[in-house]
Amino acid sequence: MTRQVTARIAGAFEHPQRKIPGKTVPQVLAEVAYGALADAGLSLSDVDGFFCSEVPGLGSIAMADYLGLDNLSYVDVTEGGGASYVMHAGHAVAAVAAGKCRVALLAMAGLPLSGTRSGGGERGPDHPYESAYGVTVPAGYALAAQRHMHEYGTTSEQLAEVKVAAAHHAQFNPNAVLRKPVTIADVVESPLISDPLHRLDCCITTDGGAALVIVAEDVARSLPGRTVKILGHGEAVKHSAAGGIDLTYTGAALSGPRAFAEAGLTPRDVDYVSIYDSFTITVLMSLEDLGFCEKGKGGTFVTDGTLQGPDGRLPYNTDGGGLCNNHPDFRGGMVRTVEAVRQLRGEATPEIQVPGARIGLVQAHGGSLGFRTAAATLLLGTEDA
């Protein structure tokens, strides 16, 4: 069955560098934005929708100026941390469906290694109640991991499987930061950062950026192939619930079913997943919450090479993910989406191209699983899906 959709991803671009000295964030944004437009076979004058968050300047305005976006009829500066870009993709489809724009450009970039950090916005109302504890990003996720282990018996060795699969994939990606395969022992014997998370349970920090171009169906039909259908989208905010925080699930438990319902698909239909792997626990919990296995059984599910491409039951993050390849600006949603696009176009690295991949899922999270998060899910399909 060939599905009718509202919009497709027509262009995708990931900056090839992971440390980018001597360039500004706007310059890197231009490189990825223009890269994605060139990939789509479109030009600046075609762009009428612009989706971004935490780019330099006020909202989208300064970067629209810098990039030369002269025909904007729709902008969206939705902020959801690393999930922002997957939210933007869903919002772009809605905007196209409403007739607000036909060619949407989504772009992100950041240079944390080169000293330029994104803002982070005004402090939240939680700040006076949470800021004097010395909570780091790993510590927040560790609180979720520890409770998951307590409730379900998840082990460090099971979490390590998530890293082992990512490292297996990264060896085939010449741009990846960490290209050396690792063993379960390597992960569990690496230094503890915040118990139970070891150094190798944590993602890397990189400079970089990525961009996507999402177009209306009539625009897609005028382009020379290689588009990816957007079949479904869901998003959610999961927070600390006024003292009732549940650390054992992620916002994917909410965003996932919404995306599957919109697409008319189930987890069994999915050939490939991109999951924002801020930490190994994020992937394991997401897989459960998305319904790829029973809740609490993620540890068992990921063992025995389930996640390893190209032949595992559910290959994930075949570029090496944020654990090994790329995690620009501490925000993984966009680069994870780009790898899903590669898989569905059949353009992933040959060693890990999933044979016959037709349906891909992207899951992103922003914020911290230990506190409050935005979550977004995309279901994507090949042109004949």
């Binding site: 010395g134 909570v135 006024a242």
Partner: protein, 130 residues
């Protein structure tokens, strides 16, 4: 300049007197963590401060071995969620070896600079339920 925050001031005032007080909504009865001016369950603006026991159980915990910023030299230290006897799960520090299910009691509410840092220790008077 930090804007006025009477709710935060009231919360810290109790902590500096050795009490853990939280707002309880008089309309729906919910105890609210973290403190705020309106009830996030029923929107009521009628909340009354209630003194809590300061007792709880460790709900989750981690040893942070890599403190950052001003906590860089202070590691390792335990960060936890403590489930208070009255219900809310609150971000906490716990002194000493800590595990999930361990009964704890509040020892401090503020750090040296007067910032909120609920700090607990093992409660020797409470037997851990298995």
């Amino acid at each position: 300049m930090t804007p006025e925050d009477p709710v935060l001031d009231r919360f810290r005032e109790a902590l500096s007197a050795g009490r853990l007080d939280l707002p309880r909504c008089t309309a729906c009865g919910a105890l609210v963590w973290y403190p705020r001016a309106r009830c996030p369950h029923c929107m009521s603006e009628s909340l009354e401060w209630e003194a809590l026991s300061g007792s709880g159980t460790v709900h989750s915990c981690t040893v942070n071995r890599r403190g950052q910023g001003k906590y860089a030299g202070a590691d390792p230290f335990v960060i936890a969620y403590v489930e208070l006897a009255e219900g809310p799960r609150v971000l906490s520090r716990v002194d000493g070896t800590t595990h999930i299910g361990m009964p704890v009691r509040l020892t401090h509410g503020l750090d040296d600079e007067g910032q909120v840092r609920l700090t607990f220790e093992r409660d020797p008077d409470v037997k851990e339920s298995s």
